[in-house]
Amino acid sequence: MLTEITTLNQREAGAMGHSAILRDGANKVKPGAGEFAGTVGKITLADPRMSARNVDVFYGDKHAIQNVSLDIGKNEVISMIGPSGCGKSTFLRCFNRMNDTIDSCRVTGEITLDGQDIYDKSKDVVPLRAQVGMVFQKPNPFPKSIYDNIAYGPRIHGLAEGRDEMDEIVESSLRRAGLWKEVKDRLDQPGTGLSGGQQQRLCIARAIAVSPEVILMDEPCSALDPIATAIIEELIDELRENFTIAIVTHSMQQAARVSQRTAYFHLGRLIEVGNTDDIFTHPRHKLTEDYITGRFG
């Protein structure tokens, strides 16, 4: 049943990519009976880094993500937008199996990293999470010193030889997250004593300290001022040269600034995905258009 729908979806999505009828503002996909029939836009990529196929997520009986398929490409930033509670965080957390930690949560479907199923029984989550790092929606520094917050990841993975190298990792991580100047004199003080925005940057620094190849960022700038935001966006740009980034954001300007592709979620479904420029200038789905033009809700 599921696979049937998906093949249909993919065919539809592929067809729509070439369809001239649906391309322009005049012919929006209308909400109604067929509203959630599938995702508008091209979900597949020729050479994906990670790809999700027919992913469903349940919290107990609640169906939080419904049959979502999406590819994340190499050296790209993909942003995920959508109204609050639509399942962006839930979907993002599937990519490094963070949902495993929630007892009531069940994930079905297939997610691959470089072609390998990450939900395979034989797959070890420890190297997976070192490879696919995450910045959580709520800043969650360890109740340890600022230094140890950053050094913890490199330490357990054995990334630094000796104290000097560790100091270097800590400094560069904090610098890149734009926090170094504020904390360089208080590295031995608890990370939990920082302000909300500082904690957010601390968590970003902690995530990049282990040099993950894919970084999942859940609203990394929600508590930051424009200057700090600019630093993080610069960081994202810089990281993209080597890595892959998926970012959840409520700021459409931010999505437009940092991402190459954008995915719009609504009530647990992936409504539309496409090049960021296209999505913001020519949304093809009515729901996407309502959302980005501020008519939603």
Binding site: N96, M98, T101, D103, V125, V126, P127, R129, A130, G133, M134, F136, K138, N140, P141, F142, P143, K144, S145, Y152, G153, I156, H157, P190, T192, C203, R206, A207, V210
Partner: protein, 441 residues
Amino acid sequence: MSCANIVNSMNDSNTNGSTTVEKVNASLKRRYARERRFRRMGLSAVMLGLAFVSLLFLSIIGNGYSAFQQTKVRLAISFDEQLLDPSGERNPKVLSSADYNGLIKNALRQAFPAVQSRQDKKELYRLISNGGSFRLREMVLDDPAIIGTTRDVWLSADDDIDMLVKGHIDRNLTEDDRRVKDSVIAWIDQLDQQGAVDLAFNAGFFTSGDSREPEQAGIGGAIMGSIYTLLVTLVLSFPIGVAAAIYLEEFAPQNRWTDLIEVNINNLAAVPSIVFGLLGLAVFINFFGLPRSAPLVGGLVLTLMTLPTIIIASRAALKSVPPSIREAALGIGASRMQMVFHHVMPLAMPGMLTGTIIGMAQALGESAPLLMIGMVAFIVDIPGGPLDPSTVLPVQIFLWADSPERAFVERTSAAIMVLLGFLIVMNLLAVILRKRFERRW
């Protein structure tokens, strides 16, 4: 829709002529009154608790403080060579088996030459505790040169004399109703006038073991027994309890088996402690053949008893660690084990320690299960290790409370004071440890 409702209700309140601020002000008085009432109630609850605690302390201290003092009588003892070492060889064997009681009797006869009848002499000899002869033997063995000289020696009085001097025996009663005869009172008064009666600090109470004679009985043996028992309990129950809690909370799958285990642990916490004593008797002594009355067995039994407490407290402490910390650790690629030991355990440690100390305090005050495994035996010697027969403080209190002699009453209270002192020290330790662990970040 909901927006419109709010606007409507706001309009309503405005048209009724009272704004939100007025409404709030109107209800303010009632709110504050309620708060004051609640505070007063809380305060009186605390006061009541404090009153009862101080009542308890006052009565115990009032009864027991005098046990820390001991009546001593000064006698001029002449270390008679004829009596001690007729051969003059100073052979330690001869010296240690000599008749030191005879020395005391001689000294008493000399002090009260008027006493003649056999009956009266017997009464006279009972003024001094029969522990006095040990004291004299020690002196002679330490320094044989005192043989042949006369020395003033302070010797412990008998327990009845002790009670009389401390005022616990009413002199106004008729002679028949009183444990001390009129003649004895006269002798003591005479000695007192000579300055030969004194109250001194009772060091023996802390250093000696139990005795049938109250003036020689001490809690040294019970303290050592309690320490060995608690050491065994701590060494076993803390690691086992914490490990069990961590496994159940962090690693065990959630299924019917773990539910069953959880229910059983909770049940175990509610099992009367004497049942653990029976279990210990059946398993450790009868089956494994461990010695009776030994702190080792006591510790094993108390371990069984405190384990549920520690496990439940530790699980609660682990549960209270916010999930965001676990996510942070796992999200960076820590294994479950690393997550638990690097992040969750340090945060849960204060709670675990509190649970452990509460369990230890329970164990320290527990007597019922230890009665079953023979720690209630009358043991004079101070235990030298966890395998020696011994008793523990609460059992010692139980034993003394059961003794008829008046002098054991104050000793019972004094032993309770010592037990409470230990509890206070343990709780202080808990607070200090908690502070230390909390300061690590």
